[in-house]
Symmetry: C2
């Protein structure tokens, strides 16, 4: 199959591309909730003194909330609020009032709302999105966090018989999601820089629609701090991948929970007390997103507060083109409904004049990133001291490669008879054994790479000398989200455990 | 087809019935999130000093919440807290602390949790469920409210080609939900007492599997204050429907958001200051639920805080047998994730020793019900004064029947040629016209019954003299959730509008 050509006349910033052929049958068939339609008709009715007996929502005078107060870290010492809070304990309070003035009053926040979210919250997040990511022409829809958001995205694109593309190691809590309704995954080879653009292209070129069904049209990526490998896509790879998406008409799902927690980046000039200057400097340390380069509208970006405030927030947002925005809204109206009032009130107050404002939130993000950087650096130090000297493992971020070929019971056998010729090893068994011994004998738990491996489809792995994914599944995932004490003990135990395992 | 017989030997309270054949293919195929499996293995590991480097969740010291305070109505005057609050404005405060003692501390609440919800919140709602509904043997799973809960329930049972059963007038925000993946609805005839058991049985007996696919196996009901008709199923009808469900092997989905807002029931003996006595008296005013009679495990009950606290709570729970509970959990883990910390913390504090406790919450519920009763009574008075004298309408709860046959342009024509012989009228057009005129000329909005009508399937409407649903679609839905001023103006305008419409 020849590589399709992109229409270069259509690359201006203002073009509108029809991407409706990507929608699943389900998304096409779904109709808007007629009651929400009626609400729209009402809102457009020119009668000034309109009485509505149509809407059965509880009256706000019956919501049992007079006021909600959130005591949060003070941003008064703006250079490093996380550390400053941990040291001084100094806090400030955001207020949500039922009747007094605030950014999103209780009386409005607790009503049923439109799918995209309550207007003040959606506007606040749209402002933030425009300021930080500067997307060409996109719309913001609130979600209950990225897991909820991805569920919705997968449902509006995928259906039985389809394949989605992703990294060959990926988070199963997400990749499991579309499997039960008949969507399969194709894992693309990765290296320390994340997914390899040329490997992505290879899969698309070699795809045999007669054998495998229609060519994949959706690419799911975690471009910063990929889970589990921790890799981050460079700007160069991002550009290559976007170009491939244009040529092969792919939708890119940019799931970016760790975007603001990127490590080993210059933090210069971030100390400015001037809000605008601070935001501008902060922005300059961030890597360009797929969203920011999305002239076609083929990117859906998912942001969440789970990693930068707390997982229990269950609040995030999807930024997409208008058609996909509408389809996500129809699905939201017929499933979860828009997110809870609590999170929307909190975020709206936080970003408002009464709260941290956008620059305060950015200061929190930067400070959080520094805190994690310190934890990561600590882990790397202890790893170097306790684990590397064993000679049995090396690390890529927190993705620890174990040299199973050094193990006395390591076996490689050439499978004969079959074509292609493939060398199979017992890596899988040894990894399982190591994980179990580390836990039961040495008292330390790691995630095995096998948990994240996307099963290979035999049909499209057809080159001689191909190393099966199961034999490349030789990694442990560590975390540095814990305290120094936990990190230190964990690494000491890993060092000991590896020595004991390899020198049995 | 003969009516199947129920096995009477299997009706003891402790029997376990295998209902797994009801699960959709999707629910069967779905696998648990392997990371949550590993969390379970860890929790069962006997090593006392286990260090986990597996879990990458943010550490609780980085959640930016020191304390959250909810200022709510005081229950100090326990006889009628809603009115007392509106008069005195007296409030009390529930606290969620990060580190100090409380029912569900911030440090735990904001972490990722198991699908069923955070343990203290799940336990609190399980206690409440057991105390109020006394189900035989069921488990509680938290949801983001009933819309989210029903989405999950429909997905674990329904698949392409299936039919679900429900009231012939039903809320489209819910009934739209499974349509896009190929599940159709069958509306069962209703009267002022709600769904008619004999009509349900008739549909099941007459069902022709050769023409229509497999016989429906799921019945979706709103047994109290059905939306839109406002009808409530009597105990007698509930028993008959449950018996039909046993005979025909139906799953009953009991969606009960208005359960505690049932009107015109004796409120005697509810003034007791003693908590246990109050709860017992309160319970005695409640109607038995399908859940309470569910010896087979074929009922899934959905409760929500949307109508009794506020819609923006986005918190509810499903009570079901263990198998369905597990399947709902697997779906939750691979879609929305469990609900937000805010709502779970609030509800846990509210029901705890530090909050209103269960009896305080019951006092709130009863008081809220009285408040709505007053609004309803007011609406009925004004209806009687302003609308009934026109002679063009009567009401059943807030479901207002309009006598379109009195309209000068009303037409009934016998469709000839077809079989069965059906009389068609122009009710549909007149209803649409009336709604539009009420809004644009009289400035009052009602929901037309057409919004709620479940389309009839021609194949199973085969009796001569059958009145098509479109000709029975002669109702307006009103609400009494608003203030007296709104209700009064609305009814005056309806009276005027009807006169003008009929006397054109």
């Amino acid at each position: 199959m020849e590589t399709p050509q992109i229409d270069n006349n259509a690359t201006s910033n203002n073009r509108v591309i029809d991407l409706s052929h990507h929608l699943s049958d389900e998304a096409r068939i779904r109709v808007a909730n007629p009651l929400k339609d009626i609400m729209r008709v009402i809102s457009e009715c020119p009668v000034t003194d309109l009485i509505t007996m149509a809407n059965g929502d509880p009256h706000h005078s019956l919501y049992p909330f007079q006021q909600i107060m959130y005591e949060v870290p003070s941003i008064q010492d703006p250079s490093d609020p996380v550390t400053s809070w941990n040291n001084s304990g100094r806090t400030q309070i955001f207020h949500s009032y039922r009747d007094q003035e605030c950014a999103l009053p209780i009386r409005n926040a607790f009503q049923y709302s439109r799918a995209a979210g309550l207007v003040p919250c959606k506007d606040a997040l749209t402002n933030f999105t425009n300021l930080i990511f500067a997307p060409p022409n996109h719309h913001v829809m609130l979600t209950f966090g990225n897991s909820d958001g991805l569920t919705k995205v997968f449902r509006i694109f995928g259906q039985k018989g389809d394949h989605f593309l992703t990294d060959e190691f990926s988070y199963p809590g997400i990749t499991n999601c579309p499997l039960p309704y008949g969507v399969k995954w194709v894992g693309i080879k990765m290296d320390s820089g994340g997914i390899i653009p040329e490997e992505l292209e290879k899969v698309l070129i070699r795809w045999d629609e007669a054998k495998l069904g229609r060519r994949p049209r959706l690419l799911y990526l975690v471009p910063v701090g990929q889970n589990p490998t921790g890799s981050t896509l460079s700007v160069d790879r991002r550009k290559k991948i976007y170009a491939i998406a244009q040529i092969w008409d792919l939708i890119i799902v940019e799931d970016d929970p760790y975007y603001f927690l990127r490590y080993n980046v210059p933090q210069t000039n971030c100390a400015s007390a001037d809000p605008d200057e601070f935001i501008e400097n902060f922005r300059s340390t961030l890597i360009p997103t797929f969203l920011s380069m999305d002239v076609d509208g083929r990117v859906l970006r998912l942001d969440t507060f789970s990693k930068v405030l707390a997982p229990g927030m269950r609040l995030g947002w999807i930024t997409s083109n208008k058609l996909f925005h509408l389809k996500l809204g129809e699905y939201t109206d017929s499933s979860t409904q828009p997110p809870h009032a609590f999170g929307q009130m909190f975020v709206t107050e936080m970003l408002s004049e009464h709260g941290w404002k956008i620059d305060g939130f950015c200061r929190w993000l930067r400070s959080l990133c520094l805190d994690y950087q310190n934890r990561l650096d600590f882990l790397l130090d202890v790893f170097q001291r306790e684990v590397e000297p064993t000679g049995y493992a090396k690390r890529m971020f927190v993705w620890i490669e174990v040299f199973f070929e050094k193990h006395p019971r390591f076996v490689r056998e050439r499978c004969s008879g079959g074509s292609p010729v493939v060398a199979r090893t017992n890596t899988e068994c040894l990894l399982k054994e190591l994980i179990e011994r580390l836990m039961s004998i040495h008292g330390v738990v790691f995630m095995p790479a096998s948990t994240f491996a996307i099963p290979e489809n035999a049909l499209w792995v057809e080159s001689d000398g191909h190393v099966p994914l199961s034999d490349r599944t030789r990694f442990l995932r560590a975390t540095f989200a814990g305290t120094e004490d936990i990190i230190e003990k964990g690494m000491i135990r890993l060092g000991k455990g590896l020595r004991e395992f390899f020198q049995e």
